[in-house]
Amino acid sequence: MENAEKYAKVDRDILAAMKKPGRVYLAGLAFTASLVAIGGILWAYQVRNGLGVAGYTHPVKWAIYITNFVFWVGIAHSGTLISAVLYLFRARYRTSFNRAAEAMTVFALMVAGLFPLIHLGRSWVFYFLIPYPTQRQIWVNFRSPLIWDVFAVGTYFTVSLVFFYVGMIPDFAAAKRYAEGIRKKVFTILSLGWKGTDKEWRHYGMLYLFLAAFATPLVASVHSVVSWDFAMSIVPGWHTTIFAPYFVAGAIFSGTAMVITLVVPLRKAMNLHEYITDDHFESIAKILLFTSLIVSYSYIIEFGMASYGGNVFEMGSFRYRALGEFRYLTWTMIFCNSLVPLTLFAKRLRRNTTCLLVVSILVNVGMWLERFVIIVTSLAHDYDPYVWGTYRPTFVEVGISLGSFGLFFTLYLLFVKNLPVLSISEIKEHI
């Protein structure tokens, strides 16, 4: 009886988020949307005039676009990790994050997926990268890590999308009871006539478990593949065996940070304090700290290998990274990723959301810089000293990158207003 009330309350509280949006929300939405518009225009400009409008130089032929790609794929990771892996570990605090995290995964992947296209010299023939039988009777080169990317990211996106959707089916059913108008219709369709019978729940449980199990290995595989884009090449500073674990850790690191960055304001804005408690934050913070330590360790290993490897090219590359013209970025990165998170050893700070927010944002910055530094510095000073060069981004690259952030947050804002932000059914389970 009183359970019923509780359930009703949960429904109300969470679905309250989907009430009519306030001014602030609309303003935010307008802002992010305009960013998207700017990005779009700049992309059109770039396609029309050629990649020359970007700041690429002769040695540095990959830069900010690929940085963004790796960054966003990284962001995407925590989603699966938090929902799938923690689900398998039966970690209860997951419930308060998983929906947000999954949404983040999907959106981040959407954004990430754009960058390989943006960075192509001839984006209009991107379909050459897709393996399909054409009249030309020629296939893609399955040896190329870029093709592995196409598959890895594609798979990952599909799976996480399905996972995201399946997780929401019962909530749609719940939501449709409160919604009206077109929204009700949509929810009705999306809920696939979910009635909540035992039989349904039994099947549902099986399916969800399976999907979780299926998604978990992807966490490792996808970013390993992405890291191989670099590790498989022979560029000094890229060609390292530790890249796969290093990148996966980094991905989870940045992803977790992004979750915190998103959930802290979310909780505040939609006062979900009783569903997202400080304990939850603390345990997430622990993940952050842990992955941070792994990342720092990788940094040390990288420089270590370069110095005792005795490979003149590798040494040159890392000397340049640490002391070259990009040294400020390098050291900022180390500060953000290795030093700042150490504060989280203090329990008080772990439970202090403002502190967490600051740390997480810094970590995001740091992780973006990490990718930038790895990509640009390694290319700028590789084998032949004659072609050593440098790189300065142009407004086009900056604008498009901002646009990508805009796109991500636009999608996210739309999400929080139109879909249940917390997994109602699971919260009910835990009542």
Binding site: N49, G50, L51, G52, G55, Y56, T57, H58, P59, K61, W62, P116, H119, L120, G121, R122, V125, F126, F128, L129, I138, W139, V140, N141, R143, S144, P145, L146, I147, V150, D229, M232, S233, I234, V235, V312, F313, G316, L379, H381, D382, Y383, D384, P385, Y386, V387, W388, G389
Partner: protein, 928 residues
């Protein structure tokens, strides 16, 4: 005559040979049928070669113009040509850009206030002839100033001037070698530059003469030196006050205190005369005239370490057939004539005349005047004595010092008639502009050297409303004197040739493009007293005050005349790797002292003259010595040598002050040092690389018939960059401009990397290595970069999507990306090689060993049912190399030259540790 109709026809066709870019043509796509069957042996779509002569500089190298659909698309040297023997320098390769340059004069123009209005030729001629008449009545003198002209053209000019009572002035060249001529005149009564047979010497000492770059006939000298080096025991020492490409390539290079070259030479002369020439009647009074000197004193004065002075002397004396050449900057400084004279006397003393130094085949510089002549001309014009002044293919306003006031005085002439190809500084000032055809559009002949006649013949109809040099002169003559010779310049030439060579000879001349008459060697007689006076008179008054600025000719632009060729500003200067100049080269120590770094802006001042230039720190340059290329400074503040009347290109006591600003100039080299990466390795380092074993997971590439490979002999490569230009032209590599160069986005498929080790420079030509295990191929997602059955890393431009992964993964960074859609302004688009597509925006491009040539060669071989013969065809770069440093061939053929070289003990590959197994084998240089 027949070919011209044919050309005309093809001219019609060529317009319509451009096809639509999609499989099925749309209704507008047309193609044309000939009226007449093309003459025997002409096959559409096949290139034909027509011999002609390069006119980019006075040297007169023979060129074969490669013609497709009636348009010349490439220039190559004529093998066996007495001057260039198959070689062609960077300027020669680029001179197609002169032909197709969009800014060429399109027709005769008449001054109309500040601007010009175009007029028909007839009007131009009549106006000239009227003015000629009127000025004669006014009692003014009509004058004709031209660049160095030789052969029939020179005679025609003389004749015309005589008929029309025009004073033919001494010809004007910026580099007139007046000191050398003066010295030879004083000593032997031969006012000219002799023909040096370097190939017959076993020891060569060059003083200031930049043989490999611009001195008199650089390609010839380059060929001769490499022949001599190939011959085995040959040593080449170079003494210079600054740092030049030539010096960098000599076996030993000594930097001498500016203006003191004379002392070294006279010491050498004394040594030679006393020890060697005493017996063969060497005039005593000369010895008397020589200032007393010991190795130590000379070392003190010249700044060359004593042991080096001794070494030079000993080597020279030890040599059986020694040869010394003084010229260039050494003779264009105060006391230059003394230097030249000393050198000439040494030649005499060691009996180099007439074997190794011969006036029979002199370089035809006799009619070339001096700076003083120009002073007189300017003065005469200033005094208003000049009527009509013809300025024929010459640009004095740019190259003469401002103090002559040439520009202003031109105005005082009654009518200045400029004849040239471009609206350059001088033409802009003229009253009447008569556009001349490019040499590839006109008939003619040149005589670069006595006894050598080289053919000029049109390979395409004139692009614009221009006349060939001869026709223009004849036209003038005709309209002025009422009756010119019957027929055009072509008939006149034909007659002249028939007269000189006979029917058969003429035919052969037309076919081969040159004739060489064997002139008997001419011994010289030395006037001892005059010689002695000459030596005495070169006193220590002629000293050079430091800091000194040298104005030197550049291998890219010579005296500045080639600076309008866009390609040449794309090709880096070999020593500094700067593409878009200008700049001033500063020595390391000076830079250190003045706290100057690359790109710093400085003001260079001397007297009331000053210029603002960015700095480039140049290793190997002695302190207090600055170098600027001649093309960088219009109206340079050069003095006139009181004794020779020639120019003094050393500006003394210059003041260099740092402004604190910087000027962005594209310096392509990221580092002048190898950073210990063994691109040009020492043997030890090499061995350990060799010992590495490596294995692959991928299936081996099978090469059945052919595996193309190249050998690059670093010992022969002198960094002249001719190959770079050749590659550009052959492969339609676009000229991208300064903006992209500043971003390091140059497009050249082939680059020459200079690496400096303690003042010595080594050059490393770097092009696609065509790796056997190519890193670029495995990473391309769409097979745009793949390994073809003949061992090439082919790039399929239409398949490329532009991920640029291949370039990242290329350790040699030899792949170029099309950042923009590059366009060729009309009529430059006619220069494109139809066998190579113009790349689209957003695709990667690279060297594929001129795959179009490979295709052609295989096609021919297949027709004859055989395999390709070694050396049957070669890549554009290898073809252009004057020293034969590049060898291309099929390495599967055990007999081939490239196989032999690739298996020599000098052979190595760049970055062998990476296991890319390149098909390009470098042969370690090692200065002998």
């Amino acid at each position: 005559m027949k070919r011209r109709d044919f050309l005309w026809l093809l001219g019609v066709v060529s317009g319509s040979t451009v096809m639509s870019a999609c499989g099925s043509p749309n209704r507008s796509a047309k193609f044309t049928s000939y009226l007449l069957p093309p003459e025997e042996g002409v096959v559409p779509g096949e290139a034909r070669f027509h011999p002609s002569t390069c006119t980019e500089c006075p040297a007169g190298c023979g060129v074969l113009a490669r013609v497709r659909e009636g348009r010349p698309v490439k220039l190559e040297g004529i093998p066996g040509h007495p001057v260039s023997d198959g070689g062609l320098c960077v300027r020669g390769q680029s001179s197609l850009y002169r032909l197709y340059h969009p800014e060429r004069l399109r027709g005769p123009m008449l001054r109309d206030g500040k601007t010009f209005r175009s007029i028909p030729w007839e009007e131009a001629f009549t106006r000239v002839s009227e003015t000629l008449k009127s000025s004669r009545e006014k009692g003014r003198k009509n004058l004709f100033l031209s660049c160095r002209t030789t052969g029939t053209l020179s005679r025609v000019a003389d004749a015309a001037c005589e008929r029309l009572e025009i004073g033919r002035l001494p010809e004007y060249e910026v580099y007139s070698h007046s000191a050398v001529k003066e010295a030879n005149a004083l000593l032997f009564g031969e006012r000219d530059v002799p023909h040096y047979r370097i190939e017959e010497a076993d020891f060569l000492l060059t003083v200031g003469a930049d043989l490999l770059e611009t001195y008199v006939t650089p390609v010839a000298y380059t060929r001769k030196i490499s022949t001599a080096q190939a011959g085995g025991d040959f040593l080449w020492y170079h003494v210079e006050p600054h740092m030049s490409l030539t010096g960098g390539n000599a076996d030993r290079r000594f930097t001498v205190t500016p203006g003191r070259e004379r002392l070294l030479l006279s010491f050498l002369l004394r040594e030679v005369a006393t020890r060697k020439a005493a017996q063969n009647g060497f005039p005593r009074e000369i010895l008397a005239a020589l200032p007393p000197a010991t190795a130590e004193s000379v070392a003190r004065d010249t700044g060359i370490p004593p042991e080096s002075v001794k070494e030079v002397a000993d080597r020279f004396l030890a040599a059986k057939r020694p040869l010394v050449i003084a010229g260039g900057i050494a003779t264009e400084s105060p006391g230059g004539v003394g230097t030249a004279a000393a050198a000439a006397l040494i030649q005499y003393a060691v009996g180099a005349f007439p074997g190794r130094v011969d006036f029979a085949g002199r370089e035809n510089y006799r009619n070339v005047g001096t700076l003083r002549d120009m002073e007189e001309l300017s003065a005469r014009m200033g005094r208003g004595e000049a009527g009509v002044v013809f300025l024929f293919r010459t640009n004095p306003v740019f190259s003469l010092p401002a103090r002559l006031g040439f520009r202003e005085n031109m105005k005082k002439a009654q009518l200045t008639v400029a004849m040239g190809e471009f609206l350059d500084e001088t033409v802009r000032e003229a009253d009447l502009v008569l556009p001349l055809s490019h040499s590839l559009e006109s008939w003619g002949d040149v005589e670069p050297r006595r006894g050598v006649m080289s053919l000029l013949q049109p390979v395409l109809p004139p692009l614009h409303d221009t006349l060939s040099d001869g026709d223009a002169l004849l036209g003038l003559l005709g309209s002025a004197s009422g009756k010119g010779p019957a027929g055009g310049y072509r008939d006149l030439l034909a007659a002249a040739w028939r007269k000189r060579l006979g029917e058969a000879g003429k035919a052969q001349f037309l076919e081969k493009g040159f004739v060489e008459e064997m002139l008997p060697k001419r011994p010289v007689s030395l006037d001892g007293r005059r010689a002695a006076d000459t030596l005495r008179s070169s006193t220590s008054a002629e000293e050079v005050r430091k800091p000194v600025l040298f104005l030197v000719p550049s291998i890219r632009t010579f005296d500045g005349r080639s600076r309008i060729l866009p390609l040449l500003s794309e090709i880096p200067d070999p020593l500094t790797t700067i593409t878009y100049g200008p700049w001033i080269s500063v020595s390391k120590e000076t830079a250190a002292r003045a706290g100057l770094r690359d790109r710093d802006e400085v003001t260079v001042a001397s007297g009331d003259w000053k210029a603002v230039l960015p700095v480039k720190v140049q290793p190997g340059l002695p302190g207090e010595v600055f170098v600027v290329y001649r093309d960088a400074i219009p109206a340079p503040p050069i003095r006139t040598d009181p004794r020779t009347g020639g120019p003094v290109d050393t500006i003394e006591g210059v003041r260099i002050t740092k402004t604190g600003k910087t000027i962005a100039i594209p310096i392509l080299s990221g580092s002048f040092s190898q950073q210990g990466r063994g691109l040009i390795p020492d043997p030890v380092h090499l061995e350990e690389e060799r010992r590495q074993k490596r294995w692959t997971l991928y299936p081996e590439h099978a090469h059945m018939e052919y595996q193309w490979a190249m050998a690059v002999d670093l010992g022969r490569c002198n960094g002249c960059a001719a190959c770079v230009a050749a590659c550009h032209i052959e492969n339609n590599v676009p000229v991208v401009g300064k903006r992209d160069h500043l971003k390091g986005r140059e497009m050249s498929w082939l680059r020459i990397e200079p690496f400096y080790e303690k003042g010595e420079v080594d050059f490393l030509p770097m092009l696609c290595q065509q790796c056997h295990y190519a890193p670029c191929e495995t990473v391309c997602p769409v097979f745009a970069a793949y390994h073809n059955p003949e061992g090439l890393n082919v790039q399929v431009y239409k398949r490329c999507v532009g991920t640029r992964y291949c370039s990242n993964n290329c350790p040699y960074k030899v792949r170029r990306f099309n950042w923009w859609q590059h366009r060729w302004p009309e009529p430059m688009d006619r220069m494109l090689n139809p066998d190579v597509p113009a790349r689209e925006v957003g695709v990667m491009e690279k060297c594929t060993f001129c795959i179009q040539r490979i295709r052609g060669g295989k096609d021919k071989a297949k027709d004859e049912g055989r395999k390709v013969r070694d050396g049957e065809f070669t890549t554009a770069c290898a073809q252009s190399c004057p020293t034969g440093a590049l060898t291309f061939g099929n390495i599967l053929d055990k007999e081939s030259k490239v196989y032999r070289l690739a298996h020599s003990e000098r052979a190595y590959r760049v970055f062998e540790t990476l296991g890319t197994v390149p098909s390009i084998h470098y042969l370690r240089g090692g200065k002998t």
